[in-house]
């Protein structure tokens, strides 16, 4: 085919998955269709669509979306002309039955996600995805909580289970470019040449774009981002910003920059309930190394119990809480409240 798109990097949009977190899981099927159609038209090749916590995400822990994942996939699939749909699967939350259902509803790629030290909870799920013929990535979350050598070891496990891509996932938006370069370089040297490397950034320290560009320069060929950064914490790497820098430095993404800029302005910003940006709480996430999804929970519970969200987030960072432990935010707030009341009484 002569009109095959040439890309140095595959940009993977997160608006309709990570973006669900920024919307407290409340995105309508109509909004999903509008966003997906615009992404497809702008040449974004893969679009993640599901509850913010992925398969099995509907829960008191992670919030209930107005629709089942199946309804979202059925809404989005018909508007896609060239992009494919992906999903997130965190073992311990999502299951293989749900993955099979995703495949039946047109999903063709998956991030199988584990905490960065627990890759050995993913072999069943990675194997199942490969059996289904899906584009299969292993996704090492909260990667800043492991050493480079440790990440290499975990990445090799995922590769051995059948992952075709292994992601370095900066869930807390904690990394700075030199960290990313060191890790991606090590993975590129140690993994098989045919295994792709991905980077998923959050913008809590304002480093999303810089980290992603450095990841590509160090050998990553998959970048997760979302238009206007719609996502947890201070958002994902802003997709249009990343594509703009790629054009400046000669990295081919195959995406239409102006279409993405228009989409950010006309579709995504008007959807936001709060401006997704670096602010006091989201900067705290990046500074303390806390899972980005904790942002809105900490803000809400801080208000409920009269404790500054920053104090709660710093404590969660100190206790090394990881993705999926949202219940521990309220628990931590309650314990802090008891301690503070005891101090007042004691004084």
């Amino acid at each position: 085919m002569t009109n095959e798109v040439v890309r140095d990097v595959i940009v993977h949009d997160m608006c309709l998955r990570d973006g669900m977190h920024a919307k407290k899981e409340q995105i309508s099927t109509e909004q999903m269709r509008t966003v997906a159609a615009a992404l497809d038209k702008a040449g974004v090749p893969i679009i993640q669509v599901s509850h913010g916590a992925g398969l099995g995400g509907n829960s008191l822990q992670h919030g209930f979306a107005p629709h089942a994942n199946e309804e979202y996939w059925d809404a989005v699939a018909p508007v896609l002309t060239r992009a494919k749909m992906s999903v997130l699967l965190i073992p311990g939350l999502g299951t293989m039955n749900e993955l099979r259902s995703a495949y039946e509803h047109g999903v063709r790629a998956v991030h199988v996600a584990t905490h960065c030290t627990e890759a050995d909870t993913s072999p069943q799920h990675i194997a199942c995805a490969r059996e289904l013929g899906m584009d299969t990535a292993g996704f090492l979350m909260m990667a800043h909580l492991n050493t480079t050598a440790g990440l290499v070891e975990e990445a090799k496990k995922m590769e051995s289970y059948g992952a075709q891509t292994v992601y370095v996932t900066d869930s807390a938006g904690y990394m700075i470019p030199e960290n990313v370069v060191e890790i991606v370089t090590a993975l590129r040297n140690e993994l098989k040449p045919e295994t792709e490397i991905g980077f998923h950034g959050h913008n809590n320290l304002g480093m999303g774009t810089a980290n992603s560009i450095e990841a590509v320069r160090a050998g990553a060929t998959r970048i997760d981002a979302s238009v206007a950064g719609l996502g947890a914490g201070a958002g994902n790497t802003p997709l249009e910003g990343f594509v703009a820098v790629c054009e400046r430095v000669g990295i081919k993404t195959g995406c239409d920059l102006f279409a993405l800029m228009d989409m950010a302005e006309d579709i995504i910003f008007p959807m936001m309930d709060h401006i997704v940006r670096v602010d006091r709480s989201s900067l705290t996430l990046g500074f303390a190394g806390v899972y980005s999804t904790f942002l809105l929970h900490a803000n809400r519970l801080g208000e409920k119990y009269g404790i500054p969200p920053r104090d709660i987030l710093m404590e969660l960072g100190r206790k090394k809480m990881i993705g999926g432990q949202e219940d521990m935010i309220e628990d931590t707030a309650l314990t802090m409240l008891k301690e503070r009341e005891a101090k007042v009484v004691g004084a």
Binding site: G56, Q61, H115, E118, D120, G324, Q325, M328, T335
Partner: protein, 301 residues
């Protein structure tokens, strides 16, 4: 030792090893055999040091000794995949099986909830560590008023989770969710599990959310939960309420911690203790019946 029922332990990993300590302290049970599959395994060596007979040839290595050594109860801490076959072979020889895998082919047991109701059967299932830690709480709410939905979140220290559980998280999820309904008596149930590698390791934490049909009776639920926690503490002293119950609309939130006795793994691994202690207590109930002649084990052969 004539007044104790002789036991075999299948699976020489974390759970099997911790069980040795629990059973050795029991009035009614005596650990005799440990079954593994790797002759070099540390678990088998440790079992030998603790005075048990061992085989590295799986359940088939145990079968010839069942009669001669008078084995009447076996604990299976292997995996859901091999449990059915292990159970069949041992049941045939008249050995009662306590299943610590998520296979769940026998009735599900959470001692403070339904141990008294279990009938004589050749196989009981202990669900999962998360199930043992959370279902008493779900039941503590549902015995006061009907629960439309219960959700449990178990956070476990990475160092306490062996390769078997890691490779089979889906079974863990399915079995625990289903037991939240069957034993906890919620109409719908969901189980989530998180493995946290923090160093020093975090103590097992469990959060339980229940959605009641009607507005929760705060006083009755709180009292029921305190009673239930006391029941569990009788066999797991480190079972503790950290925060809650928190009432928000029809949602009841309970934040628990389980510290272990530190028998095999350190105290953070409360998940190990609550599972092995529950299995041991369940086996003791049957052992008492066996010793009194109220439960006659019959092999097919």
């Amino acid at each position: 030792m004539a007044n104790k029922v002789k036991c075999a332990l299948i699976g020489s990993g974390n759970i099997g090893t911790d069980l040795i300590y629990k059973i050795q302290r029991s009035e009614f049970l005596e650990p005799v055999w440990m079954v593994g599959i790797d002759p070099e395994s540390e678990g088998l060596a440790r079992a030998r040091d603790m005075g048990l007979k061992t085989t590295a040839e799986g359940v088939d290595g145990l079968l010839p000794h069942v009669k001669a050594d008078g084995i009447q109860i076996a604990f299976d801490a292997t995996s859901a995949y091999v449990h059915a076959e292990n159970s069949r072979k041992l049941n045939e020889l008249g050995v009662f099986m306590v299943d610590l895998t998520p296979a769940a082919i026998g009735p599900l047991c959470v001692p403070p909830v339904n141990l008294d109701e279990l009938e004589n059967t050749m196989n009981v299932n202990m669900i999962s560590c998360a199930g043992q830690a959370t279902i008493p709480i779900v039941h503590g709410v549902s015995r006061v008023q009907s629960v439309e939905y219960a959700e449990i979140i178990a956070s476990l220290a990475s160092k306490s989770i062996g390769p078997g559980t890691r490779a089979n998280l889906d079974e863990f999820t399915h079995t625990t969710s289903s037991a939240v309904c069957k034993v906890g008596k919620a109409r719908r149930g969901k189980a989530l599990c998180i493995i946290n590698p923090a160093d020093p390791p975090m103590i097992m934490r469990n959060t339980i959310y229940c959605l009641t049909d009607d507005e929760p009776d705060q006083e009755a639920i709180t009292q029921s939960l305190m009673d239930m926690i006391e029941q569990v503490q009788r066999y797991v002293p480190g079972y503790k309420l950290v925060n809650g119950p928190v009432f928000e609309g029809n949602k009841v939130g309970v934040f628990m911690e389980v510290a272990g006795l530190g028998d095999y793994l350190p105290t953070y691994a409360g998940n190990l203790d609550i599972m092995t202690a529950a299995a041991c207590r369940t086996a003791e109930m049957y052992a008492e019946k066996i010793l009194k002649g109220e439960f006659v084990l019959e092999g097919a052969a």
